[in-house]
């Protein structure tokens, strides 16, 4: 079960994922990212501080947007991951393909730098 909240802050679309993302709930993440892109946001911050679990279905959603974000010059930074969640990204080597930071401030800084 997952809850996803969106909040707009200084031009950033901050998407907070609360709970667990597996094969039954990854569609919610997909729809949220699609909505953010559809609304024209070019700076997306993913708040993972309340993300308790993510399986490959959720990771696959992030992966599937990498090319589109590159084409549209959209920057996405994930932040606040718990160690057990971060480990899943590391096992797959996704930490090198996605932008991941520890805190929201670091994520904001990076998304601004990438957007220049």
């Amino acid at each position: 079960m997952v809850h996803i909240k969106r909040l707009q802050e200084n031009g950033n679309d901050v998407i907070a994922i609360i709970g667990e993302i597996d094969a039954s709930s990854s569609i919610e993440l997909d729809l949220t990212l699609a909505k953010s892109v559809g609304e024209g946001f070019s700076k997306i911050l993913i708040d993972c501080s309340s993300l308790e679990y993510i399986s490959s279905a959720g990771l696959g959603v992030f992966m599937s947007y990498i090319e589109e974000f590159k084409d549209k010059n959209i920057q996405m930074v994930l932040f606040g991951m718990k160690e057990k969640v971060a480990n899943t990204f590391t096992i797959l080597g996704l930490a090198e393909l996605l932008h991941i930071r520890g805190t929201k401030d670091e994520a904001k800084k990076l998304v601004d730098e990438l957007s220049v």
């Binding site: 079960m1 667990e20 597996d22 094969a23 039954s24 990854s26 997909d30 679990y53 399986s55 490959s56 279905a57 990771l59 696959g60 959603v61 992966m63 599937s64 947007y65 990498i66 090319e67 589109e68 160690e83 057990k84 480990n87 899943t88 096992i91 797959l92 080597g93 996704l94 393909l97």
Partner: protein, 137 residues
């Protein structure tokens, strides 16, 4: 120690599978980082089976068995009577290829192979057994 859980092939049941594994293994002093990885690997295996062998039909059943030996060797068996979905027959695609093709699938198999020591398939009493093993330190 042995544990067993029977579940219908609905993706909504994945959470129950994760809780069963955690509850079964919590008495065996497994570090949290390993526990999380093991739960993830079994979630991936069960969701693959539910989707590819059972088309998410909740009337189809999976049995999950966990056996923990004295030497802390973990043996997991997923038993079903659908078509065999053998992950050893799929090579792991390169991450770059997945990104270029904007594919959402293909990561689960890579995760399972990274986390588990061994994945094997065989038949017993007319059913398919997928056995995953992991030796804890």
């Amino acid at each position: 120690m042995s544990y067993q859980y029977n579940i219908g092939c609905s993706l909504n049941n994945l959470k129950g599978i994760r809780e069963f594994i955690r509850n079964s293994l919590k008495a065996h002093a497994i570090p949290e980082i390993d526990m999380a990885a093991i739960i993830l690997a079994l979630d991936e295996m069960c969701s693959n089976l539910m989707i590819h062998a059972h088309h998410c039909n909740p009337d189809h059943q999976l049995e999950l068995h966990i056996d923990v030996s004295e030497k802390n060797k973990l043996v997991f068996e997923i038993i079903d009577d659908g078509s065999v979905f053998d992950i050893n027959q799929f090579h792991s695609d390169k991450l770059d290829d997945l990104v270029h093709e904007k594919r959402k699938g293909g990561l689960g198999i890579r995760l399972v192979k990274s986390i588990m020591d061994n994945v094997e398939y065989f038949a017993r009493d007319g059913k398919n057994i997928c056995r995953l093993t992991k030796q804890m330190q």
